[in-house]
Symmetry: C2
Subunit: 449 residues, 2 copies
């Protein structure tokens, strides 16, 4: 009979409860999948002993002292599910120092301290597995690191934040405003009370940093990834995009050029027929381009108790079988070894969608076009509806007034450009925002055809 594997679960929130349920309710299946080794949940470490829990694990010690759980000689795997980058880091380092393997779902921790943690793991001759850290139940970590190992990855486009995708889907499907869609997401539990890290692109950027480590070996710090969130997207942008045949999605993207890789998170206009455009609600998806395989798409639940727990348990099984140890040794993640340099996203070439509210006066369009021409950006098409023809649009316009307290007429102007360097486009947009005929900030998103 093969030796059993002891597990300490540090953090027993949503995902932790899911992990405990799988290990407890499907113990026989786990043993079979682990090559005959039984997986024994020995410790549940919680923050508040008094809080009721949705799962009962016979035989497991429930306590608040993670150090005791990690130190238990009967524990071989520590599962870190408390989140954050402070205590979580202590837990992982202590576990490795005590000779335990680590499974974590913590993208922020990996993005911030991957190098230090992986060095510690190599020294301890133990592994860190993290399939659940990106895109929940979608096995994108294994896809990049193992399944597509014959390839040099040349591009990644991911819908990696379910909250943002839920909001954008609601805006596209029911024409609702950003703030109403956010409220609905909060009501349904898809968004936190403070949704900042989801909607400003931070969460997606952490996940992109983890993917970029696997695909390119680059260690991107938060500041290395250009971020643009979804809060600036107006209901009229959703409508204009639809009118032009596009859907707006928050994408985390990595693009290789020569030996550089540019990483950014931003709303992008995708053709309605693009597979990523069709990913709705809180789902996640990742489109990976490899130099051998071409485009491959992975799609599924990006969050939630059981999908994320599915990935955590897959990691536990990989350790039990001995596969994770082989992968860890071969992959040399966060070792600083890479042939790629990080490039600023300024050099990435793209078409752009620009939407500004402009005064309905002679000369304004000429000024706007001049800003683009100055950066050698060529205009592909322009939409400017007459306000009177489009009551739905004019309803969105802020009431503008001149100094003399006379109402002025503003119209939304939408420009689709030909391909240009992002940096040039940003410069043009900046100049454009200073024009006297342009009211309020102009929004711009790249367009993926």
């Amino acid at each position: 009979m093969a030796e059993s594997l002891g597990i300490a679960l540090v953090g027993c929130g949503t995902v932790g409860t899911g992990v405990a349920r799988i290990l407890t309710e499907h113990a026989g299946r786990m043993t079979a999948r682990a090559g005959g080794r039984s997986l024994v949940l020995r410790h549940l470490v919680v923050r508040d002993l008094a809080k009721p829990r949705d799962v009962v694990v016979p035989g497991a010690a429930v306590g608040t002292d993670w150090r005791a759980a990690v130190a238990d000689p009967a524990v071989q795997i520590v599962v870190e599910l408390i989140g954050g980058t402070t205590i979580a880091k202590d837990v992982v380092l202590a576990a490795l120092a005590a000779g335990k393997h680590v499974v974590t779902a913590n993208k922020a921790l990996l993005a911030a301290h991957g190098f230090e943690l992986f060095e510690a793991a190599r020294k301890a001759e133990r592994v860190i597995c993290f399939e659940a850290a990106v895109a929940g139940g979608i096995p994108i970590i294994r896809a990049l690191g193992e399944s597509l190992a014959a390839n040099q990855i040349t591009g990644i486009q991911g819908i990696l934040n379910g909250t943002s995708n839920f909001i954008l889907s609601a805006m596209a499907e029911s024409g609702t405003s950003y703030s109403d869609a956010l409220k609905e997401a909060q009501r349904l539990g898809y968004a936190e009370a403070d949704p900042t890290l989801d909607v400003d692109g931070s969460d997606a950027a952490h996940k992109l940093a983890v993917l970029a480590q696997i695909a390119f070996g680059v260690t991107a710090q938060p500041g290395d990834i250009e971020k643009q969130g979804i809060a600036g997207i107006d209901a009229m942008d959703t409508r204009f995009a639809a009118e032009l045949g596009y859907t707006i999605k928050l994408l985390a993207e990595a693009w290789v050029a020569d030996k550089t890789v540019a990483l950014h998170v931003a709303p992008v206009l995708l053709r309605r027929t693009d597979p990523l455009a069709q990913v709705r609600g809180a789902f996640n998806a990742v489109l990976v381009t490899g130099d051998v395989v071409g485009e491959t798409l992975f799609q599924g639940a990006g969050a939630g108790m059981m999908p994320t727990a599915s990935s955590v348990v897959a990691d536990i099984l990989d350790i039990a079988v001995g596969r994770a140890q082989k992968t860890f040794a071969a992959a040399k993640l966060w070792s600083g070894k890479t042939e790629f340099a990080l490039a600023p996203s300024d050099k990435v070439r793209s078409r752009f969608y620009l939407r500004a509210l402009v005064r309905d006066e002679p000369g304004v369009l000429a000024d706007v076009c001049r800003c683009l021409a100055n950066e050698r950006i060529s205009i592909a098409s322009i939409i400017q509806h007459e306000a009177v023809e489009s009551p739905a649009l004019s309803a969105d316009l802020p009431a503008g007034r001149t100094g003399e307290n006379q109402p002025i007429l503003m119209v939304p102007l939408v420009i689709m450009t030909h391909v240009a360097e992002t940096g040039r486009f940003r410069a043009a947009a900046k100049a454009l925002a200073k024009l006297p005929g342009v009211c309020g900030p102009a929004v711009f998103f790249s367009v993926d055809d």
Copy 2:
């Protein structure tokens, strides 16, 4: 310096050429991904030495004698890419007996002889890897066997035959007939001169048998999988489906009920918004349902030189790293061990689309409805256009004549049913085909909502 790995490539057609190109052109990358072991292509075994080849492999012996290549002590991995189930079987068994690991893309071989081959591999303490056998570049074998190991798979729906999907996409997008779409597929190289195995569902059934082994441990012989091909799909079916909001796809499906699994390959009407409905051209996709993770979709190139070679090389790398050996030992594939029994697809419950050409005479509809009612099948909706209103449809109708040589008027009748057992529906369709008012065979497809 880690030991190098010698490889013999038996079969150097399209995929073999791709494999040779990756190993030769990206040798440095391969060594890095193989944990420092260099992958050395030592033998190319070809059928015809005189035939020009698109790849030059310095240092490799090119010959026609697979036995010599397999026996070479400098070879540790034999890659079988000749196809078929006769010589290919000899090659695999000889390789295992000689102590070599095997990588194959041969779904027909696995479906027919998996049990014998895997027994031989276990005895020889070597592995058989076969990521390329199903869905080309899509890593569905690893997904089912490793990434989703926490799950009991409860359903698989796959577009596993690129030729069929190309034809159905062409029919849906340009309204062309089956035979014209097939000709176009042949012209573009997506279909063989004899397309039978692709369009009759045999190829998809072989692949489904392989997936069913991994997901359920069941060994399905060709006769265990109900098959319906795409040749019976008329342009009018594509149009009716579109009118009803559906797209027709050839799906390979596995559905679990209690401890049984039903396997079948057939055209299915999918809602236009279903992710599988949007898989176009020669692409493949697999929608996997797991009891923990929910639905996960994998999509990519299902065939072709480089995508398939990407999967073959991923297997070689897995062996080099030592991961494949761990997986092989734990997975116990084709060992006869399963908790699932194969169920006839008769018990699978589904809605159905039925299309028949009927005489435009009193009583015919009543007779048709009676056939369904006799099997307790409830009708959800009926479409019967007047022929005169729909010249595009009537153009498809064969010219019918009565005994008195008078033209008779036939109209297509389309019925969407409520959920019924497949067996009952088949019985109803059989009875219906015998009705005097029904001209020619009725076609029916299940409907997935």
